[in-house]
């Protein structure tokens, strides 16, 4: 018995020390990122205030953008989504809708609403996607192209769109994403500033639940009143205003949200487009771009722009959110494993030596280690190794620091673009920053472990994303 206790003390002591050191390193990393994010945000706000004195719509040098919109069984919303995309404010725009083998009336609705006619000619080049049944042009909208193909998943649909457009840039968007009318003018800015070296830019994704929507645009910004979407608003703010801005300051952005990102078409074609065998294609494509362009010894930047905004509806039930997060986690593991050669590899510069390793330590191992801690703590207490006083102080310290980082994100929002104008909404956001530490955070560690197990089991399904729909204002023309 004595030796068992001694062994337990040794093992738990070692684990405890490891967890302490881990927390110290990861939280220092987060703090540095948040501070860097503030500097980056200050510069971005200054730049956003500069109104370039030329008429964009008269300039022949604005790069053309194709909005590539994969659509699978979106009959209920596709007409409004496409109509709102066609009315976005941008000088040279093409909307490429890829009907990815929908089994509902998605294509029929598009044909009727936009007066589409099928192109008789075959596509005269190879497209790395499932077979294309047909391509359609509108007799009303010159800038609309619809592609109808065999179902192959989101990556496959994106590839079809990327190969069929002639625009020099493409913007990957989800068909249910709402884009601010001027968002393309904002997200393209790094390409205007450094036309030769910018290869990708990402904007901010915000939560649209309970915002009011009219003509496909978010009109009134409201913070969700229910807990789960509200907690996700907090998470999104922290991720975008702290994480991505901080990484951008280091020129090490390794993730652009799949719901709204802008890319150089030719460079993405060079790397073969999106991979079909991944479920987090947005993470994978950025990591591969870094890898390819570094291997090719080309000068490049991947940028985050905090002003352009796209809105998405987040899951409001724990079941659907769990399914989404498990998919995100196993996709992240898969991308990290695939690109493990970049880890600690100095030939990939800052991304290989600092950013990717810290990302893996914090985002991949973080929730797993935390989850493990919740199992070890009662065991340590059982063996008399755990000092309850120490545990309480440690918990309060880490929780307090977590809340501080979340509030940092809210402060950045208020200081910069301040979309939630009412201070009562900000107060509620701050409260969500506290609330997420009690129950939600612990639940996410369970989801992470489930995601890891799914990865080992080879699960590769997307799962069905159930949405309640936007709060649509009916607009009556007088």
């Amino acid at each position: 018995m004595h030796s068992t206790t001694h062994l337990a003390v040794t093992v738990f002591g070692a684990i405890g020390l490891f967890i302490l050191a881990y927390y110290l390193v990861v939280n220092s990393y987060y703090l540095c990122l948040h501070i860097l994010a503030l500097f980056e945000l200050r510069d971005d706000v200054r730049e956003a205030n500069w109104d370039e004195p030329f008429r964009r719509f008269a300039s022949p040098f604005y790069p053309g953008i194709a909005l590539v919109v994969p659509a699978y069984n979106e009959a209920a919303t596709i007409e409004e989504s496409v109509q709102s995309m066609l009315s976005l404010n941008y000088p040279e725009l093409e909307v490429v809708v890829v009907n990815d083998g929908s089994t509902d009336a998605t294509l029929k609705k598009l044909i009727e609403r936009f007066e589409l006619e099928e192109i008789e000619a075959e596509v005269p080049f190879e497209v790395p996607s499932e077979a294309i049944h047909g391509t359609y042009r509108s007799t009303r909208y010159e800038e609309l192209l619809v592609v109808d193909k065999v179902n192959g998943g989101k990556s496959d649909a994106l590839n079809a769109g990327i190969w069929l457009t002639e625009m020099s840039l493409f913007c990957a968007v989800d068909s249910d994403t709402l884009i601010d009318r001027d968002a393309l003018l904002q997200i393209v800015k790094p390409f205007l500033k450094r036309p030769g070296t910018t290869v990708a830019t990402g904007g901010v994704i915000r939560v649209a639940n309970e915002c009011s929507v009219r003509d496909g645009l978010v009109k009134d910004v409201n913070l969700p009143k229910t807990g789960l979407p509200g907690l996700q608003v907090m998470e999104y703010l922290r991720a975008f205003y702290s994480g991505r801005l901080g990484l951008n300051r280091l020129n090490g952005l390794i993730l652009i949200s799949g719901a709204f990102g802008l890319f150089r078409t030719d460079v993405v074609r060079e790397i073969g487009g999106y991979r079909h065998d991944t479920i987090t294609e947005d993470f994978d494509i950025i990591v591969r771009l870094h890898r390819y362009l570094t291997d090719e010894d080309r000068e490049y930047t991947v940028d985050f722009v905090p002003e352009p905004v796209a809105w998405t509806e987040v899951p409001s039930s724990r079941r659907v959110l769990g399914r989404q997060r498990r998919r995100w986690f196993r996709g992240m593991v898969e991308t990290v494993v695939t690109n493990r050669g970049m880890l600690f590899n100095p030939s990939y510069g800052r991304v290989g030596t600092v950013i990717f390793p810290f990302f893996v330590a914090a985002e991949m191992f973080g929730p797993l280690i935390e989850g493990l801690g919740y199992i070890i703590l009662p065991l340590a207490w059982y063996f008399g190794v755990l000092s309850i006083e120490f545990f309480i102080v440690f918990f309060l310290l880490t929780t307090g620091f977590g809340i501080f980082l979340s509030w940092f994100g809210v402060f950045s929002e208020v200081w910069s673009f301040n979309r939630y104008e009412d201070p009562r909404q900000i107060g509620r956001l701050l409260w969500y920053g506290v609330l997420e530490n009690f129950g939600y955070r612990q639940w996410k560690t369970i989801v992470a472990w489930q995601g890891l197990l799914e990865y080992f089991r080879g699960v590769d399904s997307w799962g069905v994303m159930e949405r309640g729909g936007f709060s649509v204002e009916n607009h009556e023309d007088n």
Binding site: N49, E52, I119, A121, P124, E142, W407, V414, W415
Partner: protein
């Protein structure tokens, strides 16, 4: 909590370390809470004040803008700081859209609001984006005096472009060529799109000067900058009549793919030059190793558009193996389809059908848009 951490000769109890950490986190939380809520309340108050006065300021501003005597000097002193700020915001919005006499009247409002003085101060003390915004205001107000009065020299490509645009727009340049010179003086790396557009606006007024300057200096430029200047030439049309184009043709045979493609674009408006009609030169151009460059050469031949150029294009496309370059070529050829025989389309197969159908849908949709707008 027992235990201590040794630091040199001293030992610090863990409880003390944890207490200090707890105190720091606690202070951080209190400060961030106070800052966030304080700032949010302040911005909310300001936004409310602005929205309350916006409608009145807008109505008064518009009625004065269209009046024969706006009397801005009398109106502005009666406005509160918030109202002046709203008036400034509205002024920026209207000057972006308006031209002519309404714009001239509004520019006087800018003077009454003290914007030129503020711009001068910003030029001397501001961050680069503050300086750029000051230059933007001076361009909007057509007022170069604060720029001359300030002790300021542009330090970035964007600032140089803004200064060139200000001086050009306000007629301060002796010749448009001086603006091109100002913009390209010392430039070695690529412009932003704003800079490139500014170069284009200046070069439209002095295409020959721009051409001569580029011919003399292009070897000192980076490939990216050279490609941008070549693309500007591609947009200038047929304004250049007398110059020697050998520097363009040599760039079409250079090392960088982007430069070669841009050179083809620049040569699009020089099809009448006999030296470009040399069959060996055109054979080399249509046989470039890069599909991107070949595509640009096909577009160049399409824009020349005479029978000889179209025939060369058709022959080149028959042996084209890259499907994307082929489609660029058929897109160019479709614009000249009245000049090719019946056999042309059959030889080019699916690429021709594809380009042809897309061109007709472009035309149908444009016709529909035109009819709707008409």
């Amino acid at each position: 909590m027992q235990g201590a951490v040794a630091v040199g000769e001293y030992s610090v109890p863990i409880s003390v370390i944890l207490s200090v950490l707890g105190l720091l986190v606690g202070i951080g939380l209190v400060v961030s809470l106070a800052l966030t809520m304080g700032l949010s309340s302040y911005r909310y108050l300001k936004a409310t004040q602005r929205s309350q006065v916006r409608s009145d300021v807008q109505n008064e501003l518009l009625s004065r803008a269209f009046a024969p005597e706006p009397k801005w000097d009398e109106w502005v002193p009666t406005l509160s700081k918030t109202e002046q700020s709203v008036a400034t915001e509205l002024l920026a919005e209207y000057l972006r859209e308006l031209d002519g006499s309404e714009a001239d009247s509004l520019k006087q409002l800018g003077v009454a609001l003290g914007i030129p003085d503020e711009a001068r101060a910003d030029l001397e003390r501001g961050h680069t984006f503050v300086r750029l915004q000051a230059l933007t205001w001076l361009i909007r107000l057509d007022d170069p005096d604060p720029y001359y009065a300030a002790s300021y020299e542009p330090t970035t490509q964007a600032e140089r472009a803004a200064v060139a645009r200000l001086l050009f727009q306000t007629g301060q340049l002796d010749t448009p060529a001086a603006g091109v010179e100002l913009l390209l003086d010392g430039a070695t790396t690529e412009f932003s799109v704003f800079g490139q557009d500014t170069l284009y606006r200046l070069a439209r007024e002095a295409p020959d000067a721009m051409f001569a300057l580029a011919a003399n200096r292009y070897e000192a430029w980076s490939d990216a900058l050279l490609a941008q200047v070549l693309l500007v030439h591609g947009q200038l049309g047929t304004g250049i009549r007398t110059a020697d184009v050998s520097w363009l043709t040599s760039n079409l045979e250079g090392d960088d793919e982007g430069v070669r493609a841009a050179a083809a674009s620049a040569l699009g408006s020089f099809g009448w030059r006999p030296e470009l009609r040399d069959s060996r030169f055109l054979s080399r151009a249509t046989a470039d190793s890069s599909p991107r460059v070949r595509g640009a050469v096909y577009e160049m031949l399409g824009s020349w558009g005479d029978q000889e150029a179209v025939t060369i294009l058709l022959y080149a496309l028959v042996s084209e193996e890259d499907p994307r370059a082929l489609v660029r070529g058929t897109n160019a050829l479709v614009q000249r389809q009245d000049q090719i025989g019946r056999s042309g389309p059959a030889i080019l197969g699916a690429a021709w059908e594809w380009s042809s159908e897309h061109a007709s849908y472009d035309s149908v949709a444009r016709g529909h848009t035109g009819a709707t707008q008409g």
